[in-house]
């Protein structure tokens, strides 16, 4: 009898303690399939790692003074619009308070399109779910909906700064020639709207550009064009596979420009794995390198969860901490019955932010829900990315 009484007492105590333990669900989603699989894997690891750190430090403070732990659930959208939309609807049906993702810009665009365009527009039946993007980087997407927020680097600012710095450091260098992946939303926009524009704005002569497609394998014609242009700087706005193909062809044809500039997302392990030798010396602006104490710690913790730290996954890490800050300042309840109110509070909190704390320094938040992140320039040297210049 005594044993039963003790057992019942323990169960009751555990039960009530359990009832007091609230969790805040954050849904992560991204591409864990195909050539972009590493992005999803790293984002997931970063999200879980960041949540783990917060939970170990006591979790998130709720409006009523108690604390709640963060639980992360990650969904694979396979970089397709249909699955992305299906996932966000699924997330909406769970008790997740906010969604972090997606990886692919071609998913972000339609996904933002099904969100409510303007908050409080009763005639708009779009989904009312805050989405805080970590990776999808194509310019100008958060504008699509007032529920969409992004923590991705501003390529215009970064390349402007890079070309300015190159001009001051190498004044003899005058001309730029580009190479563009035409059929991928991000790389295409990054050449025409960003690199070309910013190079010209900083006094470079843009001789022209060569084009190829994302799964092309023969670059002999394009590299011959690059050779004939004989520009001082060759800027390659493409992802690792074709970047490596072009660089290897350049080696074959003996094309050696004075400087090589690459696309932000190619400053990753992929490029080094594909063509470390040929990529030697390529300069890329990035919004993450483990140069600060916080950055190094984040990279180490993420590695424990089997993820690599780069500008994309570290944005996911930052997102969790920003969301903690927002949730605490807006005072959410983590109560299932107040779910939609909590979501609205997160959205409003994100909209109010003027700046956030990033791993490289302070990030400014812009009017159209984008981020102006601190950045630095890295260079491929001896099979590693080393910091070339830190403008901070």
């Amino acid at each position: 009898m005594k044993k039963i009484a003790i057992a019942v007492a323990v169960a009751l105590a555990a039960g009530s303690a359990y009832a007091q333990e609230k969790t805040i669900k954050i849904a992560g989603f991204g591409a864990k399939s195909g050539v972009v699989r590493s992005f999803g894997v790293n984002s997931e690891a970063a999200l879980i790692a960041a949540a783990d750190v917060i939970n170990k430090q006591g979790g998130v403070k709720l409006a009523d003074g108690s604390s709640a732990k963060i639980a992360v659930e990650f969904y694979d959208d396979r970089c397709t619009a249909e699955e992305g939309i299906s996932i966000i609807r699924r997330i909406y049906g769970t008790d997740a308070v906010v969604a972090v993702g997606p990886t692919c810009s071609n998913v972000a665009e339609p996904l933002f399109g099904i969100l409510q365009k303007k908050v409080d527009d009763k005639g708009d039946s779009g989904l009312q779910m805050p989405v805080f993007t970590d990776v999808a980087i194509k310019i100008g997407l958060a504008r699509i909906s007032e529920w969409a927020f992004r923590n991705v680097p501003n390529e215009t600012t970064m390349y402007s700064s890079l070309f300015y710095w190159l001009k001051t450091k190498y004044p003899a260098v005058q001309s730029v020639y580009g190479g563009v992946e035409e059929d991928f939303a991000h790389s295409r926009a990054s050449w025409y709207a960003v690199m070309k524009d910013r190079a010209e704005a900083n006094g470079y002569k843009v001789i022209g550009n060569s084009k190829w497609l994302v799964n092309d394998t023969n670059f002999s014609t394009q590299v011959r064009e690059i050779k004939n242009a004989n520009a001082d700087i060759v800027a390659i706005s493409a992802h690792p596979f074709t970047t490596c193909g072009v660089l290897k062809e350049m080696q074959r044809q003996g094309v050696k420009p004075k400087l090589l500039v690459g696309l932000t997302s190619s400053s990753s392990l992929e490029t080094l794995q594909g063509c470390a030798k040929q990529a030697e010396g390529i300069i890329i602006p990035t919004s993450f390198a483990p140069v600060t104490k916080e950055g190094k710690a984040a990279a180490e913790t993420t590695a424990k969860f089997k993820g690599a730290a780069d500008l994309h996954s570290m944005a996911a890490w930052e997102n969790i901490f920003i969301l903690k800050q927002v949730m605490e300042s807006e005072g959410i309840s983590a109560d299932k019955s107040q779910l939609q109110a909590d979501r609205r509070k997160v959205r409003d909190g994100l909209a109010k932010l003027k700046q956030t704390q990033g791993l490289l320094g302070v990030t400014r938040r812009t009017e159209d829900r984008e981020a102006d992140k601190p950045y630095l320039f890295v260079q491929a040297k001896g099979g590693n990315w080393v910091v070339l210049h830190n403008p901070l």
Binding site: V35, V36, N215, T221, F241, C244, K248, L269, Q273
Partner: protein
């Protein structure tokens, strides 16, 4: 003029890759009359498996990796045979088609899982060899690929027309029941032929990886589409046709790119295919019926 010649020769040389993969396609589709949509995927898969040689033997020479790919291709060829052709009755022609699509997806996914989708640098032979004639250059490694295509063609023609296995393969493809009545073990012949085309496919995959410089899952779809186009243009079942068609498609592709740009290039390749289908449906070397 030089520009035009260089573009043409660059394209034709790159077409050697299409020729090599096209030979396997035309054997499978044309000689065996089997639709194997997984052929390019299995070839690329074999190439990836070849990289395991580098794990076992540090700094192994390129030809060892190619040999590993060659063997792995054969194994994958056999696997595709067993999963898609062995158990499915002949009375349902659509089922093997769909089954090979399933294998294509499966092989692709396995590759993505094991490599996290990242491009893998591939060892090459003669990739730094450039034959120069003044301003005009020819890639040495692609000449090697072309040479191997020709050797493969000679070997396969000898196999098909001078050996018992070749005779049996052709018999089984044309009249399976009659062949069986003659005492030919149909399943064994089919399995063996799939292994042989798989061996060639693995080697093709390795050489493609070497020529491109890196392997990526992105290679599968374009190789499948090009392989099919080359098979049709060359003539179903014609091995010399596949080689000529491969070089032709490579050359035209590069010329279209030169004159109309990269975004319209493939549309013109499709138009080339349609031109053949309309004016010469049997292909360059039509099969004698």
């Amino acid at each position: 003029m030089l520009d035009f010649l260089q573009t043409l020769s660059d394209g034709v040389l790159f077409g050697a890759i299409y020729a090599l993969i096209g030979i396997g396609f035309t054997l499978v589709f044309g000689v065996m009359h089997k639709i194997n949509m997984a052929y390019a995927a299995a070839s690329v898969g074999g190439a990836y498996a070849g990289l395991l040689v580098l794990k076992a033997v540090a700094a192994a020479p390129a030809w060892m990796v190619f040999f590993g790919a060659f063997l792995a291709g054969g194994m994958l060829g056999w696997l595709v045979y067993v999963t898609c052709f062995h158990f499915i009755p002949l009375s349902s022609p659509l089922a093997p088609l769909m089954s090979t699509v399933g294998m294509l997806l499966l092989i692709d996914e396995v590759i993505v899982h094991l490599t996290a989708g990242m491009p893998q640098s591939y060892p090459a032979m003669f990739d730094d060899v450039m034959l120069r004639f003044g301003e005009f250059t020819l890639r040495g490694d692609l000449l090697l690929v072309f040479g191997i295509s020709v050797l493969a063609m000679i070997g396969l023609l000898a196999l098909l027309y001078r050996s018992r296995l070749g005779l049996a393969t052709r018999a089984v493809a044309q009249q399976p029941t009659a062949a069986q009545l003659c005492g030919i073990r149909v399943t064994r012949v089919n399995a063996l032929t799939f292994v042989i085309t798989g061996l060639l496919g693995g080697l093709a995959g390795a050489l493609i990886g070497a020529s491109v410089g890196a392997l990526s899952p992105l290679l599968t779809t374009p190789l499948t589409v090009k392989g099919l186009i080359v098979t049709v243009i060359g003539g179903l079942g014609s091995i010399p046709g596949a080689i000529v068609a491969g070089l032709l498609v490579g050359g035209f592709e590069n010329l279209f790119q030169q004159f109309r740009g990269v975004t319209e290039r493939d549309m013109y390749v499709m138009l080339l295919l349609f031109a053949f289908l309309v004016f010469r449906p049997g292909g360059l070397f039509p099969a004698k019926s």
